[in-house]
Amino acid sequence: MERQLIRLNVNNQDYEIYINPKTLLVEAIRDHIGLTGTKRGCDTVSCGVCTVIVDNMAVKGCSVLAVQTEGKKILTVEGLEVDGKLQPIQKAFLDEGAFQCGFCTSGMLMSATAFLKESKKPTEKQIRDGIEGNICRCTGYNSIVRAIDAVAKGKYTEDK
């Protein structure tokens, strides 16, 4: 199949890649651009480890064609840290120990980031609903929910 040139904007940087049009967004990001923070898990839109943010919306990179995101702003876990400074949500994950094996972490961070942008003062139930599309196989949800809650409650506002 003939490859085609597409231009993707990932973490505010433009990339030109030659890809087969069937290339999934997660494949473009990992295998063509080389940003491997985004993980590949179930490949069936279930687990959420491939979550990235496209035009401010969390989406699953395993079920979006890369060509469909041309001209859109893609944010991956590598784009959270700016000038060596971690985002509040990243600090909160560290403080709360919101990892066990770490495989779900980048997807969780992206869902949490999108969630916190649109939800002010969320309840615990709303936080849990906000990460419903992300599975932590170590079942470490409580610390993840605490981390999101801490950011929502403004614990890290001075760090922004």
Binding site: M1, P21, V54, A58, V59, K60, L65, A114, F115, G133
Partner: protein, 290 residues
């Protein structure tokens, strides 16, 4: 492994329909692709041409009119429906349904037209829209037609659309007075598809049931109306005993396919219970509605 295809990105719905007309069964419309890409990965669908309508904003809209009811453009995302104040006000059951459709990520990218066209009997929107008398407007290069949703599904992953047609709009008539619609799926996780699901609409005339629609999800190879259950309800003075009978009728007429999640017997049992509960819940809502 997804098979190779030629990617086409039409600039308008008209152009998309021309492409579809040219490629017929070799072409496939992709919008959000949240269902399509999964079955392509399984090798169930291997189109030569993928016609991407995701960017067609002309088909992304939510409109309401007292006379014509609700019109939702095919490329409208689930998330847009979920967040629509207009739909929450006029058709709250649609918002309740969307809130539990898959996950936020899927609702952000997936679209109502794609969901309905995918024709999965376990899909959430079809039972609810069918219970409210909904239809889809489908278009081809040579014209448009409206197909009621209860005639739209012909078999598993099959619809009444021809190869050169695509859904362009979802239509829901205005809610009749004294009417309520409720939907519930039975599952272990909120974001899962239903093991089975039931949508019920009850419309009252005084104390008797003037009209009823019971629509079952994942209880056969297609989204199906439980017409025997509807017969039990229509014209009856509603009571727990009537809801019980309606549940029994639905359980008898459904055709659940046994799978890893539920045996046929268990599927029927769930249909009985959910039909009873949803009909009653729709009735409670109808009593207090304007």
């Amino acid at each position: 492994m997804i098979s190779d295809f030629t990617y086409l990105r039409p600039g308008s719905a008209k152009e998309a329909l021309q492409m579809l007309s040219k490629h017929q069964e070799d072409g496939k419309i992709i919008c959000g692709g949240q269902s399509l890409l999964i079955i392509m990965r399984q090798g169930l669908v291997t189109p030569e041409y993928m016609i991407d309508i995701k960017r067609l904003d002309e088909l992304s809209y939510i409109r309401f009119d007292q006379k014509k009811g609700l019109r939702i453009g095919a490329t409208t995302t689930h998330r847009a429906i979920e967040k629509s104040a207009l739909i929450k006000d006029k058709y709250p059951v649609l918002v309740e349904m969307e809130e539990k459709l898959a996950s936020i990520q899927v609702r952000n990218w997936g679209t109502i037209g794609g969901n309905l066209a995918h024709a999965d009997a376990a899909g959430d929107p079809a039972p609810v829209l069918t219970a409210m008398g909904g239809s889809v407007k489908v278009a081809s290069a040579s014209g448009e037609r409206v197909i009621p949703l209860d005639e739209f599904y012909t078999d598993l992953f099959e619809t009444a659309m021809n190869h050169d047609e695509m859904i362009v709009e979802v239509i829901v008539p205005p809610r009749p007075p004294k009417s309520g619609t409720k939907y519930q799926k039975f599952n272990l996780l909120d974001s899962d598809q239903g093991i089975v699901a039931v949508a019920a609409t009850i419309t009252l005339n005084g104390r008797t049931c003037k009209d009823a629609r019971i629509v079952l999800g994942n209880a056969a190879t297609i989204t199906m109306r439980a017409k025997e259950a509807e017969k039990v309800l229509i014209g009856a003075a509603l009571s727990d005993a009537v809801f019980e009978k309606a549940g029994e009728a639905a359980a008898a007429e459904c055709q659940p396919v046994a799978d890893i999640h539920a045996s046929e017997e268990y599927g029927r049992h769930l249909i009985k219970i959910l039909t009873k509960r949803m009909a009653k819940a729709a009735w409670e809502q109808a009593k207090i509605s304007g």
